[in-house]
Symmetry: C2
Subunit: 256 residues, 2 copies
């Protein structure tokens, strides 16, 4: 019997989706079920904001018990793939919704609110990886990357210069327009599901190009934000080096 992982089409036959035949596989059923859910969301079979079938139906469709399906859904919710509400249903999380869009943005203004939303693309280039990118993004030599230099603005004023590097494989034919979107929006357009990230925050001084872009003197103290975001499958999906003016702003870190 075919694994659910091979079936991203819209066939309704329960047989195509049944994963109970792979119960002798090494991977636990609840993880396979979670994978199947992720797959459908990534492929766009299930759109953001829409309800997915209820637990019992999904369990029947995938050929697992309700308890196992629940465990898969619990995991999917923890990974922000879905949102569940008692009495209402299970909904596909929209990563571009107001409460999710700033998921990886830790910069806050004096008022505690997140900093500005405007983004201006300065340059966009597809090329071959250099050594640093290779290390940071775990790519092979000669793989292609997309380099984006862009500016973030708050109230019309630039506060952060970003150098974004993306594996070209994940974002084929990226346009200038898409490059001006936030990371989560770009990812969603290409069916990339984002998971954990890691950011290294340090203090630095504005190099000439950074200073002119941010409209400050050369050598101005800035915060350097060196961030890598991984996909749900733990593959690097973005490396961003940010150069941020911190007057009146702070970086908010959640500790667990």
């Amino acid at each position: 019997m075919a694994s659910i992982l091979e079936c991203t089409n819209s066939s309704k036959s329960i047989f195509d989706h049944d994963i109970s035949a792979s119960r002798f596989s090494a991977r636990p059923l609840y993880l396979q079920a979670r994978d199947a859910i992720a797959q459908r969301i990534a492929a766009g079979d299930w759109k953001p904001h829409t309800a997915i079938p209820n637990e019992a139906d999904l369990a029947r469709e995938f050929g697992v018990s309700p308890g196992t399906m629940r465990k898969a859904l619990d995991l999917a919710e923890a990974e922000r793939l879905v949102t569940r509400r008692q009495g209402r249903g299970t909904f596909v999380t929209d990563p571009t919704s107001d409460d999710q869009v700033e998921r990886y943005n830790c910069i806050r203004g004096r008022d505690g609110k997140r900093a500005g939303k405007e983004i201006e693309v300065l340059s966009l280039l597809e090329t071959t990886v250099n050594e640093r990118e290779c290390l940071r993004l775990h790519l092979r030599l000669r793989e292609r990357v997309i380099r984006i230099r862009r500016l973030r603005l708050a109230d019309g004023r630039p506060y952060m210069l970003e150098d974004v590097v993306l594996p070209a494989r994940l974002y084929p034919n990226l346009t200038h327009e898409t490059a001006s979107e936030r990371t989560v929006v770009m990812a969603q357009k290409f069916g990339v599901l984002l998971g954990k990230g890691e950011e290294r925050v340090s203090i630095g001084n504005a190099a000439p190009d950074v200073a002119s872009a941010l409209q400050v003197d050369e050598g101005h103290t800035i915060m350097r934000l060196d961030r890598v975001i991984y996909t749900l499958q733990d593959k690097p999906a973005e490396w961003r080096m940010g150069h941020c003016l911190m007057d009146g702003r702070y970086y908010l870190s959640e500790l667990r």
Copy 2:
């Protein structure tokens, strides 16, 4: 039948521990069971590194089903109360062990390793809260706090001046010696179970007292680390303001 929450003594009677009678309580059984586990660990009934009874025994003792007890243990593990290892058992996590002690310390050296461990207490004072402390620690007016000023050193050199504020109620009769321990060690000595934290990172300049403590010029650029750590019950347990030299160091933030 008595709730488990009232029983922190070492009585072995299963009746004293049974929480099934509170199944009509608003609080779900698995949360009550988790609370009971936390209580015993905080009270020192179960010591770090020791094994606790297996799932089936705990389920019988608490009067719940194995599935419910498992859910409680899953939660306790996510909260770092216990560590479970297949085939071996469930063990009380030692918050002062090497891999846990630096849980809230995000400062890393050039090599990616955590910064130095030495701590030198400069001053220790019990007093009444001021306004800022009141806000940060959610305390009532006139509550008592302990203020600790201390220095962190790496390779014998100071790199961070810390102003730590603790609610005196949680840390009765804190000694100078205990004040030189890390947060997690202090908390463990007083049976305080720590949960989430939140840190605001900004850039600042060393005030005169900070500069002299860190052996740098006044006005030297530093990173300000404004951190609040909460207990597992979401009550503030510590407010720390750190003033940190960042030459060659960075702040590591995990994004989820």
